[in-house]
């Protein structure tokens, strides 16, 4: 790395500066810096942060960044909420005016009315999420327990088969999975237009199994052995020891199960076409595109806003789970 003449003299100048300037504030800052460990720093060093020449452009840049993030992240949601409470006419003529003719609850009332019946689809979405959650938790915890705690001889082979599906593009499964739903192997009859069509396939998530297995691998073996010495069989071990210890990972799987159930579109659209009574099975994601053509903008926006509430509330409550990078798989799925 070549030394840039620009920086080194500045660094030297900086180290002399506090001694020359008799400025109380500056001296106080520098004394604090002396105690600061260097682990706290990022790309810009703590020393550089105190220099106006570095600090001013950086803070300005961060302010611009904050404004950009507010525009991209917050404003669309605020616009959605605002327009849900604005008459269609106002939204169409002046989309960016804030309540030009006051707040109206008409749109929301229509969303809950006979034509849209948003509440039915809302409940369907919750039902889809709850069922998917149960299936995913059962498959991931029992499977993870067998593969990473009980470890039968053929376990490695099964782990390999599960892992292999992790790298499989979802598109390969689309048609054969649809045919499986039409003619299930063992069960018989068609699962089309039943919640089972979305519940059961959601359990085949290699991501969940890997996540749970990795967590179980980290649990202390001594506890399992102690439990065994005390006469606990595998069922007792699973129910009374492993499951209670697994609350953190079950929480992570739960949050992503619910959010993904809310986000899924292509699969529920294929297997829940609705038939005679779409209100009995379709979740919001499948219903909303179907009402676009026959609904005025205002009630549509209100429906969109209502559909977004639960995911946003969940996100704000479970921020840490989302922002810890644990959702790698979900985040890059697109």
């Amino acid at each position: 790395m070549t030394a840039t003449p620009l920086v080194s003299p500045d660094e030297v100048a900086l180290s002399q500066k506090p001694a020359q300037e008799v400025n109380g504030r500056l001296r106080r800052v520098s004394r604090r810096a002396a105690h600061e460990p260097s682990t706290d720093r990022g790309i810009v060093s703590t020393a550089d942060w105190r220099r106006t020449r570095v600090r001013f452009p950086l803070v300005t840049l961060h302010l611009i960044l904050l404004i950009v993030l507010i525009i991209a992240g917050l404003l669309p949601i605020l616009w959605l909420l605002k327009s849900a409470l604005t008459s269609t006419q106002d939204t169409l003529t002046a989309p960016l005016a804030i309540f030009p003719h006051g707040i109206t609850w008409d749109n929301v009332a229509q969303a809950f009315g006979v034509n849209i019946q948003i509440q039915n689809y809302f409940l369907n979405t919750i039902w889809v999420a709850v069922g998917e959650w149960v299936v995913q938790i059962v498959v991931a915890t029992t499977g993870g327990f067998a593969l990473s705690v009980l470890k039968p001889k053929y376990g490695r082979f099964i782990s390999g088969l599960v892992l292999a599906t992790l790298f499989l593009p979802a598109v390969v499964l689309l048609i054969p999975l649809y045919l499986t739903i039409l003619h299930p192997l063992v069960i018989g009859g068609s699962l089309l237009n039943t919640f089972w069509a979305v519940w059961l396939p959601s359990g085949a998530s290699a991501f969940n199994v890997v996540l749970v297995m990795r967590f179980f691998d980290g649990l202390p073996r001594e506890i399992f052995e102690a439990a065994e010495t005390d006469g606990a069989g595998p069922f007792r071990l699973f129910w009374s020891i492993v499951l209670p210890m697994s609350k953190p990972i079950i929480g992570v799987v739960t949050v992503f199960a619910v959010i993904n159930a809310w986000k899924d579109y292509l699969w529920p659209m294929l297997v829940l076409p609705g038939g005679v009574n779409p209100a009995s099975v379709q979740p919001l994601s499948v219903r909303l595109p179907n009402i676009v053509g026959q609904t005025e903008l205002g009630p549509l926006i209100a429906s969109l806003a209502i559909s977004t509430l639960i995911p946003i509330i969940l996100f704000l409550i479970f921020q840490r789970t989302f922002l810890s990078g644990g959702g790698f798989g979900g985040a890059v799925k697109g």
Binding site: M1, L6, V7, S8, S38, D40, I43, L66, G73, L74, P76, L80, T91, L92, T93, P95, L96, V138, V139, G143, A146, V149, L150, P152, I158, L161, L168, P169, V171, L174, I175, L177, L179, T180, P184, L185, L200, P201, G203, A204, A206, P234, W262, Y265, L266, L284, S285, L297, L300, I301, L304, T308, I312, F315, L323, G327, F328, A331, V332, G334
Partner: protein, 323 residues
Amino acid sequence: MTTSSERIGARAAKPGTPRGRVRRTPATWVKRGGLANLIFLLPLLLIFGMFSWWPIIDSFVISLQHTNFVVTTWADPFWSNFTFVLNDPTFWIAVRNTGYFALLALIFGYPLPIVLAVLMSEVKRAKAVFSVLAYLPVVIPPVVAVLLWKTAFYDAGRTGVFNTILGWFHIPPQPWIQDTVTAMPSLVLEATWAAAGGTIIIYLAALTNVAPELYDAAEVDGAGIWKKIWHVTLPQLRGILLITFILQIIGTAQVFNEPYLFTKGGPVQSTTTILLLIYQYAFQSSDGGSNLGAATALSLMLAAFLAILSALYFRATKGWSQN
């Protein structure tokens, strides 16, 4: 390390048997925990078997058949579904469109999260606020996001949301998704907005793992901010950058929601992607029937292409990912 099954097995072994082994009978198998193993594995085996492993095998079978939900016959010659797809002019349009989408998404969507994450990692106060704001678009359900952009933001009239904003700067209203030229970039714009937050969070997590001593050392060598980013930050992110790059390509090659919900592939097939074509083959063929064989053949070709691409990619970048 003793696993429970071994311990139970050890207890069951009779002292008289040679080398401590018991004869294998169903009873000893149950005693050794074999039954319990199987009971715990049952949900996983059933669900993965029915909804993952079997469909994968089945897809090879279906690709060699002519199926329309009613009648099923073997394809003759057996590769005829594949040749049908390759001879379909729409297939080549879909390939071009998907490539175009992936390319635009790389140009706009790949560097953006890197830049934003590096900037955000330097924020000292209220860092969480930045992360939450960046992640908000990811939380909005994709269908809601697309419909919001479609019906309001991309409204091609003078009073559409985006066109109103453009009007402030005296830029004429744009047709957005209603024109063959602007449709695809409009789709990419929304997709980038919707996905960037997720990638930013991944990069932010990786950035906290960069050892501060490396920056200290770089400064001793006289590196400025840009040199530190170029010679320390980016090389430290190299592993994750390589993975997100190929994952983004794999993801965009399978894009469905945006082209289906925004434009149904139009105008004039300008946004028909491969996944949309698979959907059309299977569920809305022009002749009213459905061609599941062709749809599955195309799925397999796409999967094979992505597998080969990933393999080549990881081989080519093998040396780069190590420090």
